[in-house]
Amino acid sequence: MAELITSKDIGFLKEQARRIRVAIVKMLTEAGSGHTGGSLSSADIVAALYFYKMKHKPSDPKWELRDRFILSKGHAAPLLYAALALTGYFDQNLLKTLRKFNSPLQGHPSSKLLQGVEISTGSLGQGLSIANGIALGLKLSNIHSRVYCLLGDGEIQEGQVWEAAMTASHYLLDNVCAIVDLNDLQIDGRCSEVMKIEPVAKKWEAFGWHVFEIDGHNMEQIVETLDAAEKIKIKPSVILARTIKGKGVSIFENKVEYHGISPTVDELGIALKELGEDGK
């Protein structure tokens, strides 16, 4: 497998985000089911993590000094699989087996079946606690790696998230960086209608976190903020990333119904065209 190429170059990272989006819509169409909207909304952030910010070795997934990525919003599994495949953890052909019987690419990520998945997720609200535990363990072992945890905005309605928010702050886990994908949509509708989560920034601040608020599709801002978060000491950081659910494909953008369904073949055609992939 080719060694991982990473760069802080914004053009390079945007291209990786585009490739991730292409892989997502392709694998979801092939699978015939799955979560389109929330996979696309976090694609820029995940591209910046896997192709720039995180120390990791696709050829050695258990490398002790690696930074960790916990996909707490486990339904965005296609996003994680795309990032892992494109950085070389496994052959991209495997993406075609998403959600199929005998595939290591389960509907929600399974760490027992797929290298590069740090922990199985899918039941919302649990990832930040796990990230905290890893962060405590790393500190005990004197390993200066970071733990990134991606949450959905609907997900932070889960009470356990706030238990974990207290824990990270109480134990001064400055090696934890939570990222909340604020696309304002959950299965049943707008977050503000289903269960209000605002004021989000004030909540995290009140729980003792250093809060960054960014446009989750602005690659310059994402990269700058990931760098800035690393410099915050004594307290954990959270990046509140305002995003558009389904970002990158106009017919999916900001549409609640694309939370949990996959593109049709026709929609895939439109998506690939908009993602600059038609004819390739």
Partner: protein, 326 residues
């Protein structure tokens, strides 16, 4: 010592096989502290009950490796999971109902599905919690843990066994649930006993009936054996401390040699030891089985001895049950 089951049942000592009474939670606290000295991978988490679960002893000795998570069992299980992912061996403790009930889905989704090396050691299992009442008396924990793939479930009978269990599970890689008690229990296991995960301890196999018990009910079963002996009935006693994986070799041997099995546990008769024994033997070697346990009900406040008596978790009731079913 003049008190054998006196601590839990209020009765006088009338046997020769019981030793010093100690709560299994106290044995846990001691074992954990000892383990901490020899294995620096051991880390301990508690949810604001370290005084009661006895993890406090470890916390004093190894404050850097102890994490009080506050009153947040779900977060505790998740954090323990994360610690295990960095090669630590986390022991997470609180009361049995909160550990297995409040955090059940975290245990299922994170600990068991990913087969993590997390040790869930809960205290205050069963009715002998006493005065705190139904909210704090876990009668469902074994069922809740036994149903989970990858989970090992152990209910030690006394202090000696508890210490051995804690040492054994620290060396075993994978999820384990250990259920301990609040009340003092008499020492019942022989001095040369050696615990192995999945191995039942056979005190004896009786020709008329065999009593299969765990936890504090092992002491009651041994007493029942004496009562029955005085009436000319030959009963055997098995300590089935590992409920999962259950010792099928011993179960087959017992079913071959006796016409009646009576299980006894400080738990609901639904889903616990009695169920595990019944499930295996009904498929592999049907034999008459009567389950003693709490019969589909919540507990209530009272002295442990009163409650054990009310719910039939006594040597007398075990003996009576055998006689009625011979």
């Amino acid at each position: 010592m003049g008190s054998r089951t006196q601590e839990i049942s209020g009765k006088k000592d009338n046997g020769s096989f019981f030793g010093v009474a100690i709560a299994t939670r106290d044995a846990y606290g001691e074992a954990l502290a000892e383990l901490g000295k020899i294995n620096e991978k051991i880390v301990v988490l508690d949810a604001d009950l370290s005084g009661s679960t006895k993890t406090k002893k470890f916390s004093k000795l190894f404050p850097q490796r102890f994490f009080n998570m506050g009153i947040s069992e779900q977060d505790m299980v998740g954090t323990a999971s994360g610690l295990s992912l960095t090669g630590k061996i986390p022991f997470a403790s609180t009361f049995a109902i909160f550990e297995t009930g409040r955090a059940w889905e975290q245990i299922r989704q994170t600990v068991c599905y990913s087969n993590l090396n997390v040790k869930l050691v809960a205290t205050h299992g069963g009715i002998s919690v006493g005065e705190d009442g139904a909210s704090h008396q876990s009668l469902e924990d074994i069922a809740l843990m036994r149903v989970l793939p990858n989970m090992t479930v152990i209910v030690p009978a006394d202090g000696l066994e508890t210490k051995q269990v804690i040492n054994a599970i620290s060396e075993y890689v994978g999820p384990v649930y250990v259920r301990l008690g609040r009340a003092k229990v008499p020492s019942v296991m022989p001095a040369d006993y050696s615990f192995n995960i999945g191995n039942a301890h056979v005190f004896n196999i009786g020709s008329d009936a065999v009593l299969i018990a765990n936890g504090i009910m092992v002491a009651a079963a041994l007493e029942a054996r004496d009562i029955l002996k005085a009436k000319g009935i030959d009963a055997g006693v098995i300590n089935m401390s590992t409920v999962k994986p259950i010792d099928t070799r011993v179960l087959l041997e017992v079913a071959n040699k006796t016409p009646l099995i009576v299980t006894a546990e400080e738990h609901s008769i639904i889903g616990g030891l009695g169920s595990a024994v019944s499930e295996f033997l009904s498929e592999n070697h049907p034999v008459k089985i009567i389950r003693i346990g709490v019969r589909d009900s919540f507990g209530c406040s009272g002295k442990p001895s009163e409650l054990l008596s009310f719910f039939g978790l006594t040597s007398e009731n075990i003996a009576k049950t055998v006689i009625n079913n011979l």
